[in-house]
Amino acid sequence: MASLTLPNHYLPTLLRSHSPNYPCSQNLPLPSTPSNSQFFGLKLSHSPSSSIPSSSTLRGSIFAKVSKGSKPPNFTLKDQNGKNVSLSSFKGKPLVVYFYPADETPGCTKQACAFRDSYEKFKKAGAVVVGISGDDASSHKAFASKYKLPFTLLSDEGNKVRKEWGVPGDFFGSLPGRETYVIDKNGVVQLVYNNQFQPEKHIDETLKILQSL
């Protein structure tokens, strides 16, 4: 299902992400790469599909974007120590998955340090925090070590998971988006929060929702 969301930072004219330049129709083959679009706040996402889409595939393609109430697709990514980590391994406890643009950038550093500084609160709520960006494991290792981050950072090289989950970009896709998901212990998304330039707010919003879970 398509969700209607509004840009939540100050510049309302910003149209995030790129739009697909193909129509979405049962008669046309869907593209092999996933894409996301946001048109005046109405988010749609498409995911890879066969060349002859069935209605169920099409429905899955259109609604593959992770939103509140949905169950996100599983993934397996390498952490900062090179170890494979799957989403399914976190089942049974609340999970905070935050997508951020890149290590060692000002906003991402602020965000990571804010998660670090509030980590006890997350632990108290029984939640696990996982950060995901397109950087490789060695970058994550250096980043985590430098700022003494107590949580897992995963390498989404090629931004595959980002695209699968439908994380919208900013400035017409020039900048990877900053979006946080709170997933309850049943694996259902309870919060999707996007804010590129106020990274500390992600912590406040996620803690608020965790307290209500």
Binding site: A102, T105, S174, F197
Partner: protein, 369 residues
């Protein structure tokens, strides 16, 4: 008249094309027997001395790094040390005898030998600038450029006023002038942000400016000791070259109003910047009033730029854009986009280098000057 000019030259790329680059000691002997050739030789000499004269740099810093005697921008990139480079010693003699060539004493210009294969990286001069540093003083070249710049501005503004009178149309030129004033502040911020964050002293064309910006952050107070024409001449030169063609081609009062005020604010932004580094007690009351009214960038607003990590309050005309640009993280957004597009990180993302950290001027140092 008989003049002999011998030029011993080790050239480098910044030399004029007719001196091709040699990698070794090379001597050229030129003999002249006519006035025209004499003038040509004189032109060459003037060009060479002009090029290496500290007062006529074509890539002068916008801000207040006091330089030694001018070294070409290339040598900013390549000098291992910062001693002045005087590549020529000129030995000159003339004789009016035309009877015998043997009476002519050759003019010898002996270049300083640059070691072959020297690899160089400049370092910021750590010498603390003194009040009487010659690089802070105005020269006639500076004054000339400021005169040209001001003349160009006056012509532009005069055209605007005259056109407004002829057409009895005042509102549009006034609005255009105001827009020019506002956009000049934005332009000052963008250019300041670029030069503060990208490139270094080896960057082509603007390397010297970038280095000067760095020096300004280390010794911000020196801008208040820079003489007027010295401070403004680089911008005055840019304004002259950019505005004069517009003045010659366009006579529309609205356009000239915009251009005159915008370029005037840009040209005088260095003065506004210097005032922003001044102390209230030493500034003219009118300047203080304009700063407090927000017409000129205030001392407190600009002081915020001079605190680590030096990534805000970039505008230096009126500062009217600073709050908007900082509040909405416009430059941060641009930095992120540029990083993802080019992989280049801005300087403000890293810990300030020692060349950026302000050296506090103590009262004893002030008294010593």
């Amino acid at each position: 008249m008989y003049v002999s000019l011998r030029i011993d030259n080790i050239t480098h790329p910044s030399f004029p094309p007719h001196y091709s680059a040699f990698s070794h000691f090379h001597k050229i002997t030129i003999s002249s027997t006519t006035t025209i050739e004499y003038l040509q030789i004189l032109y060459i000499l003037l060009f060479l001395t002009q090029k290496f004269d500290s007062s006529s740099s074509s890539t002068l810093p916008m801000y207040s790094l006091p330089h030694h005697k001018y070294t070409p921008s290339f040598y900013h990139k390549v000098g291992k040390n910062r001693q002045p480079f005087h590549p020529f010693r000129i030995f000159y003699s003339t004789t009016t005898t035309s009877t015998s060539k043997s009476n002519v004493t050759p003019l010898v210009i002996e270049p300083k030998l640059v070691p072959a294969g020297s690899t160089v990286v400049t370092t910021v001069d750590n010498r603390r600038p003194m009040n009487n540093d010659p690089s802070l003083q105005s020269t006639w070249s500076h004054r000339a450029w400021v005169t040209f710049g001001c003349t160009t501005l006056l012509i532009s503004l005069g055209e605007s006023i005259k056109g407004a009178m002829d057409l009895n149309m005042w509102a549009e030129p006034i609005v255009a002038s105001w827009v020019g004033y506002i956009l000049a502040d934005l332009g000052s911020g963008v250019s300041h942000w670029v030069i503060d964050n990208y490139g270094d002293d080896s960057t082509p064309i603007v390397g010297a400016q970038i280095e000067a910006f760095q020096g300004h952050h280390k010794w911000p107070w020196t801008i208040t000791r820079r003489e007027f024409a010295n401070n403004l001449h680089a911008l005055a030169r840019a304004v002259t070259f950019m505005v004069l063609p517009i003045v010659l081609v366009c006579h529309d009062p609205v356009v000239q109003g915009f251009v005159g005020v915008c370029s005037g604010c840009i040209m005088f932004s260095q003065q506004f910047h210097a005032w922003a580094h001044g102390t209230k007690s030493r500034l003219p009351p009118l300047v203080v009033a304009l700063q407090e009214a927000g017409v000129l960038v205030s001392r407190s607003q600009h002081a915020a730029h001079h605190r680590p990590p030096y990534n805000n309050n970039y505008c230096t005309v009126s500062g009217v854009w600073n709050e908007f640009l900082d509040k909405h993280k416009v430059f941060e957004a641009l930095e992120m986009v540029l990083y993802f597009k080019t992989g280049v990180k801005p300087r403000s993302w890293s810990e300030p280098a020692s060349g950026w950290i302000e050296e506090i001027e103590t009262s004893s140092q002030v008294q010593a000057q």
